[in-house]
């Protein structure tokens, strides 16, 4: 069965500092990997995704993530954090189920606090 681990429950960074959120996955085949962001009271917004090809993927809001198969990781990065980036971030791995509909398995999330 697939699983996703986000080892950091809560991260605090200063505005303008760089950010890296960790994600490790367990999946038997080539994974489809996603990062979603959830602001308070809001839904889940897709930041970026990896299906195949270039292992460094660019997303919205200046985020990027790198797929490293050897480390089973898909860490999210941003070179300079803005106060509006404060939110909860979820890593997810997707599978094609037997019914050929994709279901996602989510990590437990990382809460990001940005200090002024």
């Amino acid at each position: 069965a697939q699983s996703v681990t986000q080892p950091d429950i809560h991260i605090t960074v200063s505005e303008g500092a760089s950010l890296e959120l960790r994600c490790n996955y367990s999946y038997g085949a080539t994974p489809y990997l996603f990062w979603y962001v959830q602001s308070p009271g809001q839904g889940l917004q897709l930041l970026l995704k990896y299906f195949s090809g270039d292992t460094l993927v660019q997303g919205i809001k200046g985020f990027e993530a790198e797929f490293k198969r050897s480390q089973s990781s898909f860490n999210l990065r941003k070179p300079s954090v803005h106060w509006s980036d404060a939110a909860e971030y979820f890593c997810a791995v997707g599978s094609i189920s037997s019914g050929s509909a994709r279901q996602l398995t989510f990590g437990s999330g990382t809460q990001l606090t940005v200090l002024p």
Binding site: G43, L44, A101, R102, Q103, G107
Partner: protein
């Protein structure tokens, strides 16, 4: 930009009551999903729906739950007799294609069972 819309945004109900949560997926999408997030816990898959039938469901999705696409636009989740532990945020999602499309999520419906 097209989006998934959900109603109601928040519903409070008494234990044992029936609840219907409604979703309007993106119009050209073919696969529909319900997920839920109990406060402080992971987002969990409940059910996927394609071609007017359930494709897959999780262990959470027991006989108390049902899904329906009653017309060409709405996708509903019904909980027949709510329990306290059904209190959660319920997210609807849709995707155009199972193999290549990412899931687009709605803003969620918060269900509080008293």
């Amino acid at each position: 930009e097209p989006e998934v819309t959900q109603t109601p945004s928040h519903q409070v109900t008494q234990m044992g009551q029936e609840v219907i949560l409604r979703c309007v997926p993106i119009s050209n999408h073919l696969y529909f999903y319900w997920y839920r997030q109990i406060l402080g816990q992971k987002v969990e898959f409940l059910v996927s729906f394609y071609n007017n039938e359930i494709s897959e469901k999780s262990e959470i999705f027991d006989d108390q739950f049902s899904v329906e696409r009653p017309d060409g636009s709405n996708f509903t989740l019904k909980i027949r007799s709510t329990k306290l532990e059904d209190s959660a945020m319920y997210f609807c999602a849709s995707t155009q294609g199972a193999r290549t499309g990412e899931l687009f999520f709605g803003e969620g419906s918060r269900l509080t069972v008293l």
